[in-house]
Symmetry: C2
Subunit: 734 residues, 2 copies
Amino acid sequence: MQSSLFWLTPASSLLALGVAALFYRSMKAAPEGTPRMVEIASHVRAGAMAYLRQQYKVVGIFFLVLTLLFAWLAYGLNLQNHWVPFAFLTGGFFSGLAGFFGMKTATYAAARVAHAASHSLDAGLRLAFRSGAVMGLVVVGLALLDISVWFLVLSHYVEDADPAHKLLLITTTMLTFGMGASLQALFARVGGGIFTKAADVGADLVGKVEAGIPEDDPRNPATIADNVGDNVGDVAGMGADLYESYVGSILATAALGAAAYAQAGDPANAYKAVIAPMVVAAIGTVFSIIGMYAVRVKSGSTQRDLLNALGRGINLSSALILVFSYVVLRQLDLPNYVGIWGAIVTGLITGLVIGKVTEYFTSQEYSPTKGIADNATTGPATVIISGLGTGMLSTVVPVVAIVIGTALSYCFAAGSWHFSPASMAMGLYGVGIAAVGMLSTLGITLATDAYGPIADNAGGNAEMAGLDPEVRKRTDALDSLGNTTAATGKGFAIGSAALTALALLASYVEELKIAMIHAGQVTMEVAGVAVPTATATLTEFMNHFEVNLMNPKVLLGMFLGSMVSFVFCGLTINAVGRAAASMVEEVRRQFKAKPGILQGKDLPDYARCVAISTAGAQREMIIPSLLAVIIPIATGLIFGVPGVFGLLGGALSTGFVLAVFMANSGGAWDNAKKYIEEGHHGGKGSLAHKAAIIGDTVGDPFKDTAGPSLNILIKLMSMVSIVTAGVNIAYTLF
Amino acid sequence: MQSSLFWLTPASSLLALGVAALFYRSMKAAPEGTPRMVEIASHVRAGAMAYLRQQYKVVGIFFLVLTLLFAWLAYGLNLQNHWVPFAFLTGGFFSGLAGFFGMKTATYAAARVAHAASHSLDAGLRLAFRSGAVMGLVVVGLALLDISVWFLVLSHYVEDADPAHKLLLITTTMLTFGMGASLQALFARVGGGIFTKAADVGADLVGKVEAGIPEDDPRNPATIADNVGDNVGDVAGMGADLYESYVGSILATAALGAAAYAQAGDPANAYKAVIAPMVVAAIGTVFSIIGMYAVRVKSGSTQRDLLNALGRGINLSSALILVFSYVVLRQLDLPNYVGIWGAIVTGLITGLVIGKVTEYFTSQEYSPTKGIADNATTGPATVIISGLGTGMLSTVVPVVAIVIGTALSYCFAAGSWHFSPASMAMGLYGVGIAAVGMLSTLGITLATDAYGPIADNAGGNAEMAGLDPEVRKRTDALDSLGNTTAATGKGFAIGSAALTALALLASYVEELKIAMIHAGQVTMEVAGVAVPTATATLTEFMNHFEVNLMNPKVLLGMFLGSMVSFVFCGLTINAVGRAAASMVEEVRRQFKAKPGILQGKDLPDYARCVAISTAGAQREMIIPSLLAVIIPIATGLIFGVPGVFGLLGGALSTGFVLAVFMANSGGAWDNAKKYIEEGHHGGKGSLAHKAAIIGDTVGDPFKDTAGPSLNILIKLMSMVSIVTAGVNIAYTLF
């Protein structure tokens, strides 16, 4: 039953980590520039590391408490798989590690990229991209390593007479380390997001607006904190986030594959279905690396050349993945492998569509963002109104793309254009593998994503070190390029989150079944007839638990789910507001206490601003994160399984649309400001520019704190429900 | 089987209309003030009537097309009840009429209230409140008239051998005039909302911010349009809106009552269950009138006395309704009448809780709004950020109140704390009657609501006519009181919409069943067993159509539903932005063409501004309204019944939370500005004040256009699905 194709997974993992090490060493070997540049970089690095240490302390306590809780559920109440506490911990550990490595690389790279950019634009791009690639490869490498090792360990230790059922136990256990990854990711995104935006908003409000000094000016006490923020939010946060998406989609698909064939008592195909997503991810990793080597620019390239170079790399990877995933699936000989491949293609295309439409709505090349910039001429109110309106309208295409993508991948995998309960398990497997397909290029897309903040930091370093303005211009070109690629990356992150969350709903059912059998409920009543729990179809299961849309528990769960999405955003947005206010006060205080700072005579106290952002982020990230863990458990205790389904469904549909809206409004405001800065409507310093800065400031917590955290929230709530499924079976109030 | 209690309904309807006529005549008898006041009032009245005429033309075309469509479905394709086209038309007609009468009264009242306020505060209150009461009474009077007449007509003409089934046919037919009312209401709210906010934003941006002239200054060309807007948006729009809520909740409950007992073949109790909501509404009307007479203030009263007087009226009505609805239900002898009464009490209390929390989050007396005002000191960006964050957090209590209220009213009516499919029909009936209970005080709450814009207009009239500033102070006091009562009113509107929409879901099932039987599908397959369609329980029905949360059609429908809520808001917000921009240009043009305007020498061209707002509103209201009609039909054609359920569920949960968020953010910004104007943070003219004005401007389309329209959108989509249920049965793509 073992297939040699499985070994592609650990092999590609080691390959990815090896290439990452190579890139890292070549980056470290590059010269770091003037002593002033080295000094600034070391400040930023120290701040970032200090923040991360602090964050890991808080996260550590959370993990400790939850691990004890899970251990009690598993060993004390016997409501849970005994592997869960360990799986949970490793998921959290690896997710954190991915963020840590990415950030370490980024903080070492910034000054080096600035130095390289002082020679030429293409030298800067090459170094920045290679540094971003370290992060992309570390994320996929660690993810595949984690998955391979656990799969081998559990295959060895889990015992079950039925080999298909054994696979189901293995995969559902592995899924629980998705919860560790999600929780770590949520902390990283929320904490990092609050840190970076508090620093950014604070620096802008006093520095740019009140004191009238430019961005990244060394006289601004919050400027180091701002640069630290880019690293902890945009690099470490994004790394943990996408680690979680990647792992979650692969594991949810594997669990669905095991479930689909376990029911039919077909261990050979169950095994194939389990390793298929791993193998596709492995293929994706290999071709992401090949694509990276294709990103080359000649010296003297323009910005358009750079964009083309990145696009070439991604397109090459995608094309190769498409071809070779077909080859591998055929080799694997999974039934209906053509349909499965169709689902993968659908996933890739859906991600691309969402990415493109995100670009359309947020790039200053197109009318929506230009329209917002036009509205800046009548002041901040109209900028805000049109940004909100445009962001809301921008949800149409992503939602329609997800709807069509889901329907197509479902039908491809189910092998039928008509919905039938019998083909549901395979259809949902198709949805899961579509998410894997969408994320298969993660190695390279994340590289283009992570390179943005590196270029941004390089710009900050150049500005603070007082390099030639030409260098700043070049890093700005790199940064602006990064904004475009980041938009595409965000599209992938949001789209894959929606698909993965759909797949996780089905995994929740499998966990419930296991819990029921564990609790001795070997049959369940469906419309008056007893059906064996182990072989009940998804539809029979839903009918047994009355998870239908007339059940008030489901509907009330949906209300709660929609509410949680909004409340979570409200909490994080207000957190940014509060932390930014402390930052504003601190900067004002420093300017007042030492008037020499603004004249460039006195050195501001950078460390204090970093400390303020750190403290704010630590304090403010606790409640939103607690919410994500407590709400699904509480809903389950009160309204049972139907309530949990409603909660997850409501949070998924509302959260997805809300996330798209916030990300796009924020991105559009940012680029509307840039559009004006390019000289339109009076350019820098005009009234329109001032109005646009206000739009951008409002957009900051939208696009970099609340929006991206929502993706994780949705999946974390599903993961919490999956992990505590045993509790749902044992206790409900109503 | 006929109960004499039914006659309470037409009797109370005539009583309400009679008292309304009395109040109207006493208002008309009051003196209108100086010739200048009369002239201004006639300008506003002419503008408002011109707008309404124009709107009814557009709406007329829509109604014509839809009536033809329904006639084709009914008579051509035989997919629909033959009464539908007529019911649809009368619903629309009466809803429009309610708005028309309310607006006519309001436009006659404004100058008279200003004149009365020039004598004393309490004279002003009395007149304003009586004028608002006309609207409240017209709405409930026309609604109960429409319901009684149709009930009698259909009882006479509909023929069915089974008297219980006959009642089901009657009530489901009547429900379709809810669609007419909803569509009319959507046009009124969206069109009126765009008109009023375009005028308001336009007037503020050029007048207050650029030219620095105060609100309602006669030199501002948009000022008449602004006052017209209050009438068409806040009076006519709100009247149509609440007419729709009221009718919708009564009819949905009646239909559920018929369904619950028709299945059991129990015509006597079916009849009782059908008339119970009508009788409760009748009781509510009578005691609303008594409450109105209790609103008295002595001369020389303070604002707190006024608030207490209004509160006394509402509390008296509520208490009497609680007592007498128990008496009447006992008299009616409906099984489990104590439980039904419990549901009514739950509804009333839930409405109260939502109203109170709305007040807490939006009144300058409490910390949330004060916090937003504090944030004004650091500029517009922080005002916007904290307003958005606070609005999102404010969704917690309303959602939890609805969840608890629904669960309790369900359990009370079902007579059990545990959910069971058998008691589902009665439980949902309880949810419906809870909405009726919540709206039973509508006569008086709407009076306190409608009186706000009248006071606002009186202030405008006083300002423009150059009355003593003391008069303006008094009308401002009345207006500010109106803001508080309006917040409570909005809470009731949103809360009842959520409950009614839940009840409408169940009505959709009944319509589907009727359509199935009509199409010859007398049995349906449930888990392999054939069940008679007529007696299938809600749960069996859901199982037959696979309307469960693992069915991808349901989940994709939910995505679409969440998206529609956001897109609808995006469209209306952008519409306000565009219409306001035309207004800004027009006002600037007039100031430039005739410099004498600002010096008070030349008269501005008011009519042109009214025409611009009218044209903008007409143009912009079409697409959002079309969306609400087309999306449910299209979803049904593509994804069938499960897709429609998902759509309605997603739109309901997302739309409800989004509506609360927008209403509360908008209200809080408005009052944060007022708080600063009271002298905090530097008072009028300070930087904080400027920032707060920007917040208020952003909040305008939130709270007066998009937010309140969402309630109607949710119900209209349900109504469209109910009316086109036959199509869902006949055709689906997947």
